[in-house]
Symmetry: C2
Subunit: 254 residues, 2 copies
DNA sequence: AAATGATTCTTGGTCCAACAAATAGGAACC
DNA sequence: GGTTCCTATTTGTTGGACCAAGAATCATTT
């Protein structure tokens, strides 16, 4: 919370620079964020009412509302009727949602994302092998077991992702975990496609178990091999997925 | 372009689900995005005027404007006076800007980000050593040389980042590169802090050169060693940075 | 006819007033 | 004390108004 305030002030958030001619809305966005900082508001605190903000910053209520819409889109505030705008911690969701926009689902992307996962998940192997406790690895077993209890492609994909997320968590790096989670939508999409073609929860559970065993044996070669094979395995079912004309289905939904 | 349209429709963009009670603004955001899809608009195309959109979707102009502010915050449209709202490809910038919000600059974060970089940049070493051409590596030299021609902490940090960005580019993974670039603001911030304490472009150039040499020699051990040492080196100057009461400076700026 | 300058019209930017809907907080009641 | 109802406040939405900037049109001049 506090660190966040430090960040907002110490970092130049605008990459672009247009010195003059900022709109009243942009100005208000900044002023409201300054207000949050100077008043040391925390998550859950309410901002002044729209009218008060307008009077405070010499702006009309519509302008204030447009600024609040921006803040809301950023996940910084959540505005409830009668209460007003309250500080929110949904900006991670906002980032995730927005990030999903810029990833298209093409065959190349499938390959690309799996390649990313291989780099990351193999790359953290050394750290896990060196630092993970027995409890950590047992926790992986627990997470892995859940895939046997769910049914449906969506549930299986969610459990599958949860396992890999737990794996990345063991790297002990928050930045890496945040970035990995950004891809959640795309990754689970890949998983769904794969599992739709061939719903094999038991196989997935088995393979994950072998990966955990390799970690418990502190065998980094086996870990890398099993993980790479696992990720490549998931790709073999997505090839034909993009042969169909996905475009028509899109347009009909509009 | 086309893939983007496919994505928007094929992926569940809202993680949360509130079935009923969508506000008119949210509805408009969706309707305008549908409009973009159904009309096959591309980057640079203009949307109808605010008044037309209001008439088209039975909404007031203020409501339309609030929806456009959201789209603008998402980097989907860019609205220019007199021209109207035109489709934009700035959503990468929007993501980057938004992503910077959620990273605080604490000592732990400095360490964390450097740890992330170590995982990523070391992890791609194998791929680079196996697949990079002589031209690729020479290009690294070119990028590296630029740091000698700039002066000022900001310029040096930008060149430093450019080198590491070029390194990550050689991994040939777009997803990884995108994620790495998301951290650009934080990484260059770390670099600036380090260089402000001890502005040593020549040392940086020298170290980068050694890393390139290791790659040219296809020596993965040397690469990992030099890179890890390089990243750790940058950390030793940031320790005292957070001893000062940064908070007060923040408040005084409001 | 072409270039140029003036005028008009369109459009986004901002603000205000009004009403509807939701609800927090208090009043009244049991 | 607890429940119910009422009211005042606040957000949600709309329409209208005005301004400034720029595009489009037209008139003037060469």
């Amino acid at each position: 919370m506090i660190d966040n305030a430090i960040l907002l002030a110490s970092m130049a958030v605008d990459a672009g620079q247009e010195p003059a001619k900022v709109s009243a809305v942009d100005r208000l966005v900044e002023q409201i964020r300054d207000l949050v900082r100077t008043r040391d508001l925390i998550i859950g605190d309410a901002l002044p009412t729209e009218r008060d903000l307008g009077e405070l910053f010499q702006a009309g209520r519509n302008t204030v509302r447009e600024a609040l819409q921006v803040l809301k889109a950023y996940g910084i505030v959540e505005v409830r009727p009668k209460i007003g705008a309250v500080l929110s911690d949904r900006h991670e969701d906002a980032v995730r949602k927005l990030f999903a926009f810029q990833n298209d689902i093409s065959p190349a992307s499938f390959l690309d994302v799996q390649g990313y996962r291989r780099i990351v998940e193999v790359g953290i192997g050394d750290h896990i092998i060196l630092h993970a406790t027995a409890d950590d690895l047992n926790h992986l077993d627990t997470v892995n077991a859940r895939i046997l209890d769910v049914d449906g492609v969506d549930g299986a994909a969610a459990c599958d992702f949860a396992f890999h997320e737990a794996l990345v968590t063991l790297a002990g790096n928050r930045t890496l975990l945040t970035n990995y989670r950004l891809l959640q939508a795309v990754i689970t999409h890949i998983m769904r496609v794969g599992k739709a073609k061939r719903p094999v929860q038991i196989d997935t559970h088995q393979t994950h178990g072998e990966i955990i065993s390799a970690l418990k044996a502190r065998d980094r070669v086996a870990y890398s091999y099993l993980l790479s094979r696992h990720l490549e395995y998931g790709l073999q079912f997505v090839g034909s997925e993009n042969a169909r004309p996905a475009r028509t289905a899109v347009i009909s939904s509009g």
